[in-house]
């Protein structure tokens, strides 16, 4: 037996296909490895960063304090009400809102704008429908009463 006949007899075509497959599979694997090499190098270069991230993942999460709600920037509405009330007495009623804010800033009330806004929202300062504003003493008294009751 010689030539093609011998090749066919000993499963030559199948072995050839298998050989080609093995070679191509190896080339594919190599290509995949090479295409991902930059990632591996990046990981190696930043190994400390990834190590820290991994440590954070396995450690118990620390509770971060929730950011405080923006404005009004005062703790006690009574104190701001008292200060603004004194100013209103000095200016007289009805008063101009921009003027009140300007005076409040001049005497050093911090965040005068949001303080006045807070008093308007709580109806301590009310519009007179002519473009000026009034101090609502009833609302102020009610607020003080509620505060006393809560204590």
């Amino acid at each position: 037996m010689k030539g093609i006949e011998a090749v066919l007899y000993y499963d030559g075509p199948a072995m050839a296909v298998l050989g080609i497959s093995v070679v191509f599979m190896a080339l594919i694997v190599l290509a995949v490895i090479i295409s991902g090499l930059h990632r591996a190098l990046f990981f190696w270069d930043n190994k400390k960063l990834y190590f820290n991230k991994a440590c954070l993942m396995f450690s118990s999460p620390e509770k971060t304090p929730e950011p405080a709600a923006p404005g009004p920037y005062f703790d006690d509405i009574h104190e701001s009400a008292r200060q603004i009330n004194l100013l209103v007495h000095a200016i007289g009623e009805p008063f101009s809102l921009p003027r009140l804010i300007r005076r409040a800033e001049n005497i050093g009330i911090s965040h005068a704008h949001s303080t006045v806004s807070h008093l308007i929202v709580n109806n301590l300062i009310v519009p007179d429908r002519k473009g000026y504003f009034l101090w609502n003493q009833q609302a102020c008294d009610r607020l003080l009463r509620q505060s006393k009751e809560n204590r």
Binding site: P98, I101, A112, H113, S117, K130, G131, Y132
Partner: protein
């Protein structure tokens, strides 16, 4: 400037009745701007070059004679002089608290309104309704 929440903005009184094609024309003109407490958005007497819609915050509309009113309703408008004669702000606006507003360039807004009468009618009707409400609440005219 910040990402616009289109769903939220479409719900605003002034834009509520716009058709999809009208909205598409208007949308590129809108920008969302953050303001800080005490910031002056408009100055009385200056050429009206911007129109604002309140998204968040408390604002004081005030005139040089000392009269004022405050706005804190989402969708309230400020600077409507930019789309009506005399094209100069008739009052100043100062932010009482930090907030967010929609800002529209007056020139672009006017150009759009002039090119689309149907849109102009809807928007100007809404602006007129806002002005009427304000006059009832506390006139600054």
């Amino acid at each position: 400037m910040h990402h616009l929440d289109t769903r939220q903005i479409k719900q605003l009184q002034i834009f509520r009745d716009l058709l999809p094609n009208e909205w598409e024309q208007l949308y590129p003109l809108l920008s969302q701007v953050r303001v800080i407490e005490g910031e002056q958005l408009l100055r009385e007497g200056e050429r009206a070059h911007r129109f604002f819609v309140i998204l968040k915050g408390h604002f004081m509309v005030h005139k040089s004679d000392g009269r004022a009113m405050t706005l804190r309703q989402k969708g309230d408008i400020m600077g409507w002089s930019s789309v009506s004669f005399p094209f100069a702000y008739t009052a100043s606006v100062t932010a009482l608290t930090a907030g967010e507003v929609l800002c529209i360039s007056a020139a672009e807004f006017l150009e759009l309104l002039q090119s689309n009468p149907a849109l102009a009618e809807k928007v100007l009707k809404k602006i007129s309704a806002f002005i009427n409400i304000r006059q009832k609440v506390g006139s600054l005219q």
